[in-house]
């Protein structure tokens, strides 16, 4: 997956030309924050100051806000995908313990995770073993609601779920979310007013599961701005289960669904603000581009190609954006074509690339989004990259191998981009050593974990590759930095710490230096 970096630049440029109108400080500040990839902070800055921005600049504000949220949605989607695997690894370790002192809540947490992953069969199996001894109403309520959802094959009656949830806010919110997911919006609306769930109550009483579920409820109901206000006030690094044993052991359980609900909300919010942009105004193309990219990321290729066909070749786009979109268009068209072969198209496109590294990067990025390994293309692109890196001179412009300083200088920035995109594509094949080699080549070593200096999605790919090669500390260091700006990633940090504590095989050595 990639981000609309081209439009990021474009938007920053726009922000810099805004002038000194009312509320402009927020526009400038949020643009700067977006540039630093502090998307959460950026949208909050602008969203809560929309009222201060004069009418003439509202289009600018909606455009910038929509772009920030678009990027944030992509980031949270990646957080979510990674959290699923790290949570699963951690919970599996807890479930391995068959002793009397084993975790009581691991089964329930695993059931919730399986439900999140769309696997009700597994969830049911965990729920059967979830023995909570009725000691905690909150957990019992959640268990009962989850059981009802999964036993009814994700199509339960809302009234039944509400009844199972009793007065527990986490369970109630989960019940509402399940109701909406199974298309019972009318029933949910009716029960919502009766149940007494409000944003205030969720903020006060709910744990992460309740917060997550309620964000989804608001998103699905189209109450985007209310959901954003809730998120801004919520404690996003919060657990949803805390298990304390008599022996003094404390285990925290977190829910990846929070990350999914945030990603979905930001995606919906991005569209919400983009839709407000004047489609005949100066941002018409930009808005369509972001909307296309959002649809592309979400796998809605019909919408994405429809939007692109309104732009490509008809309206002026920056050359890199034009090429990137055209490449994506070709792969999407092939993807939706019956019997289509995206890998073949990618390979053919790659053959035409020559020294156009940007095109190679764009093909890689598009292959990643459509989830095709594009093996033949990847081989070609890797070979090209290797050749170029051999030709690349040292910092003085010389050649590392031959010492020849007359070699044509290679665009280092583009090589870096190609390394990143190829690294992300290689991730699909789970070839983590190769992923590390490619992405480390592109990493800003002097600012190793800083999202301001590195593409955060690239850092997350690196973190996953390090986790999968059992270099847990590298993973944790990346997340330590990311968590400063995105506290909701706590669940991944906690899960990886848990796995690391078991997997580490060291003698207990410490040295001074």
């Amino acid at each position: 997956m990639t981000m609309s970096r081209i439009f990021l630049f474009f938007t920053i440029y726009l922000v810099s030309t805004i002038g000194h109108a009312a509320g402009v400080e927020s526009l400038t500040k949020s643009g700067k924050l977006m540039e630093q990839k502090h998307y959460d902070e950026a949208w909050r800055e602008l969203f809560f100051n929309l009222g201060t921005i004069e009418q003439a600049k509202r289009d600018d504000a909606n455009m910038i806000l929509g772009t920030i949220l678009h990027n944030d949605a992509a980031l949270y989607k990646r957080f979510y995908d990674d959290a699923l695997t790290s949570q699963e690894a951690y919970l599996n370790l807890l479930l391995k313990d068959k002793s009397k002192k084993r975790s009581k809540y691991a089964q329930l947490a695993s059931a919730a995770l399986a439900y999140d992953m769309g696997n009700c069969k597994s969830a049911n199996s965990y729920l059967k073993n979830a023995n909570l001894d009725g000691q905690n109403m909150q957990y019992t309520a959640v268990k009962d609601v989850l059981s009802s959802i999964c036993l009814n094959n994700k199509n339960p009656k809302v009234a039944e779920l509400i009844s199972k949830a009793s007065s527990n806010i986490d369970a109630l919110a989960l019940a509402m979310k399940a109701g909406l997911s199974s298309g019972q919006s009318k029933a949910v609306d009716e029960h919502l007013s009766k149940s007494g769930i409000t944003t205030e109550r969720v903020l006060k009483e709910a744990n992460a599961l309740g917060i997550s579920s309620y964000i989804t409820v608001l998103t699905k109901q189209g109450k985007i701005e209310e959901a954003l206000k809730l998120v801004a006030q919520a404690e996003l690094n919060r657990y949803w289960l805390k298990e304390e044993s008599k022996e003094g052991r404390v285990i925290y359980f977190y829910t990846p669904s929070l990350l999914a609900s945030l990603s979905d909300l930001y995606a919906a919010a991005s569209k919400h603000f983009m839709d407000k942009v004047d489609k005949t105004g100066k941002f018409a193309v930009n808005a369509k581009y972001v909307l296309y990219e959002r649809a592309f990321f979400e796998g809605d290729y019909t919408t994405a190609t429809g939007l692109l066909s309104e732009i490509l070749g008809k309206q002026k786009l920056p050359p890199r954006a034009e090429q990137r979109a055209a490449t994506a268009m070709k792969l999407m068209q092939e993807k939706v074509r019956k019997g289509g072969n995206t890998a073949k198209v990618a390979s053919e496109l790659g053959q035409t690339a020559g020294d156009n590294l940007g095109l190679l990067a764009d093909i890689s990025a598009a292959c990643s989004v459509v989830k095709d390994n594009c093996d033949a293309f990847a081989k070609l692109a890797n070979k090209k990259l290797e050749t170029l890196e051999m030709q690349t001179g040292d910092k003085k412009g010389g050649n590392a191998k031959t010492g020849n300083s007359n070699v044509e200088p290679v665009d280092q920035k583009m090589i870096k981009t190609l390394n990143i995109e190829l690294g992300k594509l290689t991730e699909l094949q789970k070839k983590y050593s190769k992923v590390l080699a490619l992405l480390e080549s592109a990493r800003d070593k002097a600012n190793k974990n800083k999202i301001e200096n590195n593409d955060p999605l690239m850092l997350l790919s690196l973190a996953e590759a390090y986790r999968n090669t059992k270099n847990f500390s590298e993973h944790l260091e990346i997340y330590f930095e990311i968590s400063k700006y995105y506290p909701a990633v706590r669940l991944s940090q906690d899960a990886v710490q848990g796995v690391y504590s078991v997997e580490q095989k060291s003698a207990g050595d410490v040295k001074i230096f």
Binding site: I251, A446, K448, R490, Q497, K505, A507, G508, D509
Partner: protein, 532 residues
Amino acid sequence: MNGIKLAIAVYLTAVTSVANSAQDNAGGVLNYGEYGRPATIDPITSNDMIAMRLTELIFNGLVGISEKQEIIPELAEKWEIDKEGKNYTFFLRKDVKWHPKPGEDAQPFTADDVVFTFKVMAHPKTITPLKVRYEFIDTVEKIDANTVKFILKRPILNSLAKFTFKIIPKHGPKNPSYLTREDPFAQRPIGTGPYMLKEINSNQEVVLEVNQGYFGGKAKIQEFVAKPFADQNIMVQALTFNAIDMIVMVNPRNLPELQGDKRFVLQPYNGLSYAFFGYNIRNPLLNDARVRKAFTVAINRQEMLKSFFNGQGEVISGPFAPGSWAYNLDVKPQPFDKNKAIALLKEAGFQPGSDGILEKGGKKLTLTLKVPIEKENEGVKRVVLAFKNYLKTVGADVQVSFMEWQAWKEAIFGQHDFDIIFASWVFDDSADISSLFHSAEIGAWKNNFGGYSSPEVDGLIVESKLTLDHEKRRTIYRKLHEVLADEAPYTFLWTLTNYSAYHKKVRHVAIHPYKFFPYAKSWFISGEDEKI
């Protein structure tokens, strides 16, 4: 003048290096830069990273760790563990020989060496930080010449990994019962590993040569040479002038320069380290936690990290590195707050004297800060100077003293003659802080140099050792982090970005995040690239 000296030093090293490579065998010589020289090179008395890296090449453990982080056979070809997890029987390889002593034939490795190693580690007169780590072993007995049995006092977590400790030969040390730093073996050790000590030359370079008869197969590189550099900037210049092939840890400030040079590979490895100011609690002025906490909030750590290390690291809140599984994410670093520092010092009973320096009971708050000279690089100098200046603003007078590495260790660990030190700890990934903060570890050449003692911390450490529950151990470590952050036996500073740099001609490089060299046997130097 200094510039000339630097250039000459680099030139001479380069010339020596070129001369060396000309007479090398096909395997080549790998010259690597270290930030000092080791005090001892044996695996028992040494307690610094420089020596540890060397002992990794010279010695073996009963078991080792693979690149996939799995326990693998080393000196033991197999093992059996009883159901209770208390009896460990190791069946030793029969084809292992010790490096030959000068003028002698190589002797075979046997169970006697394993028993000897454990007894030496446990001997009261052996000064070693290993003692606390292996207190869980009750006895070791020789079953036959190639079989040994360890009986544990209790089962422990990750027990097999503990048997990675290095085995020394019974015929090695002069003293047959215990090992001191003065024993010739500590300077001229022999092991079973892929490399043997060839010499320590007049430049204090440690030269290791390949062990032709290594039981695991001959290593590819002919020689490893550890070259000490007091100044990290010179070390980087040496690399760029091809005088050395590798730097074990690049100063963060030099990263941009090396990243731009395509001849080199920058490889991250997470040594789980952090820098700190450590306090001597024996000094009554520093015995009050409020004083130590005041010092912690009196300095702007974030600003120091940003200004002196280009922000290439993370400010920490407690005794673990952020990359560790044990780091308590809920404990946040105390923010810089000069007024809070002043209030805490006042609360602790200090009043300004006539010269502005705080006093209590007639004693001025004047303290010595001792820093090893190997750390006398630009960034460190700025850190200690900033610390001195920050503390001056709250009424404390700090006298900074740079000392040669060995003299510094003698003063800190041997004599406890200091008030404050600036140093760094590096941990393997078990995050074991027991030797740093348990009161039983107070004493000469032990790691609790500051004499910190807390019944609560002692209790938590003991509990963490006794539990067999990983999650309980995590809970305890979270609590330890919280307590130690509050008690502030150290001012915990930051963890820095950790990169090794090496020339691209060195191939197949895999680096262990803590031990660095365990996989060096498979490294090689590309003949083609060597001609560059």
